[in-house]
Homo-oligomer: 345 residues x 2
């Protein structure tokens, strides 16, 4: 099984031993994230994935993403597996909002100097999250490019492919006034807003990643590295039982940028502040960093990682079903007629 | 249509105007590489692609790759669209060897400082190659990370997803002694061996990218930026008409590393030197760079971009059919019994 084409780079003033060691270290993690649909890949150049049966008009949903500057925090703390989890979970959520469940994931890991233990930790994280989401880790690429990346700096990106029955695609088209906005809580910054967060914590406040912050009951590093939550386990049962009209993954740009992506023309989302607990990390950044509220809401998820738009009658039933499973859910507001956008009220 | 999530990075000390301009510049190129299977993506977080009908047991084949340090040559010459083509064609070839035809492609473009014109040229190249290969450009991610990439430095990676009928997967399993190795010519270095090539041309010989090399009848830069050839147009008709037992895309590691990836146990590939024209760029690097032959063959494709393994009876028929279409093809050697590997004879 050939997960990584590291040896291809051995001629690049690149350490072939490091490459081999990385492949050896990654192997068990990659194997752990196999799924039955993955076909044995003897001498494969690409990864083979047999399409699950039972779809009438299967539609594939693909999304590519990176981890952004959360990587720099991981590097500073030398904690690497969680950014692997972040990346997979982020991608899972990005296709979930269209009603798709994940099939497989592939990563791109590029660095100036390959550290086998770092590569192993990254792939371990990918593997953990792939298993948690029932997603195959189908393959990936590891590149050592000393001319482009400085030393042990690295970048990490990934692509997910999922599937949805055509008639079950969620596209927000049916959203109408009176529909209800339900919010599912995030675990922290998820994977967005790190440039501003780094500026506040490390430049304005002059903290170190290891600085303990009483208000957060943890260190800055731990608070900032909280794993991006996958909403698949919570949302998947809802997709079968209820009519979900629209879903927005609250990533970079916050409510303001992400909610309008699923709203039809002349539909406005009215969100009432104080209907959910803003996480302490956001309160802390807003107060101590002296950041205005508009910037906060345009940069961070503020404690809500996923928003569902559902009919007014379904809303209380869905909320009850989630709370019975001990899942937190907040009624954030309603859809109104008006220019497409988000109104914080 | 939301191809690029650039605005999500606007808070990162990142230039939102550059992001918007890049999106505007990319738009036409992205639109040009739509295919009918792509569904209108209102407010999409991921790209939607309806699976073509007519497959009994559809198997998806995925591959992720980067362009490697060919990017540095592109940067030096400020010629960007061709590396976009390189990346798509490379990926197309990587899944073609398993018998798959491409469905869609997604890119990851990360840079220290977003240059809208550079991003446009890259996406233009992706779009050109996607159209040439009948592949949808389904989406992508553009990230501006000044903390990780220096200035205008950038990295480019991509993921392709293709499809093959399960019973038509090409896996080399049936390769047996007496089978024939046919070689299809490469256009140049394709996308591999650039670190060694840069060392020879720019360090040992002290050339500049603009240096004209009489032996190559062109400048170093032009010779090194030749577009990675897609073998899909040549190979696709062969897949329907003939039994292709195995195919190897000759990438990093050359014949030596890539051919064994498709050979069964106890099958050796005997390749006769001088059965194909080694491209002048390789001759030049070997002689002037004083590189031994083993290193050359372990680093470069030496003029052969794709190798097909076919039955002895099929070989002359296939060669004739290609030559009738004015396609060059070389009989490189045969499969023998022996420890899995490549013997240059």
């Amino acid at each position: 099984m050939k997960k990584k084409k590291i040896d291809a780079y051995a001629k690049a003033g690149v350490n072939i031993d490091a490459g081999n060691e990385a492949v050896r270290r990654m192997k068990a993690h990659v194997r752990a994230a196999r799924t039955p649909q993955m076909l044995a890949d003897i001498g494969s150049f690409g990864g083979l994935f047999q399409l699950p049966a039972g779809y009438q008009q299967p539609v594939l949903v693909g999304s590519t993403d990176g981890v952004g500057t959360k990587l720099l925090i991981a590097g500073a703390l030398k904690q690497y597996h969680t950014v692997g989890q972040d990346l997979v979970n982020h991608c899972v959520n990005d296709i979930l909002v269209q009603g798709a469940v994940p099939l497989f994931f592939m990563d791109y890991f590029a660095t100036g100097k390959l550290q086998p233990k770092v590569a192993e930790q990254i792939v371990k994280g990918l593997s953990i999250a792939c298993r948690e989401n029932g997603c195959a880790l189908l393959g990936g690429e590891t590149a050592e490019m000393p001319g482009l990346y400085q030393g042990e700096d690295f970048d990490l990106a990934g692509t997910i492919v999922g599937i949805v029955e055509k008639k079950n695609i969620i596209d927000g088209r049916a959203i109408k006034p009176g529909d209800v906005l339900l919010g599912l809580p995030s675990s922290g910054l998820q994977t967005n807003g790190y440039s501003l967060a780094r500026q506040i914590f490390f430049k304005q406040l002059n903290y170190k990643p290891a600085t303990y912050v009483p208000e957060l009951k943890t260190t800055v590093g731990e608070a900032l590295l909280r794993v991006h939550r996958s909403f698949l386990p919570v949302v998947k049962p809802l997709l079968k039982a209820f009519k979900i009209k629209g879903m927005a993954h609250i990533t970079g740009g916050g409510f303001i940028d992400n909610l309008p992506r699923i709203l039809p023309e002349n539909r406005r989302a009215d969100i009432r502040l104080n209907t959910w607990p803003v996480l302490p990390v956001f309160q802390f950044m807003q107060e101590r960093g002296n950041i205005d509220q508009a910037t906060m809401f345009r940069t961070f998820n503020m404690g809500i990682g996923m928003i569902l738009v559902v009919g007014a009658k379904d809303a209380p039933v869905i909320m009850r079903s989630l709370r019975e499973k001990k899942e937190a859910v907040y009624r954030l507001g309603e859809i109104a007629a008006g220019p497409r956008g988000v109104l914080l009220v």
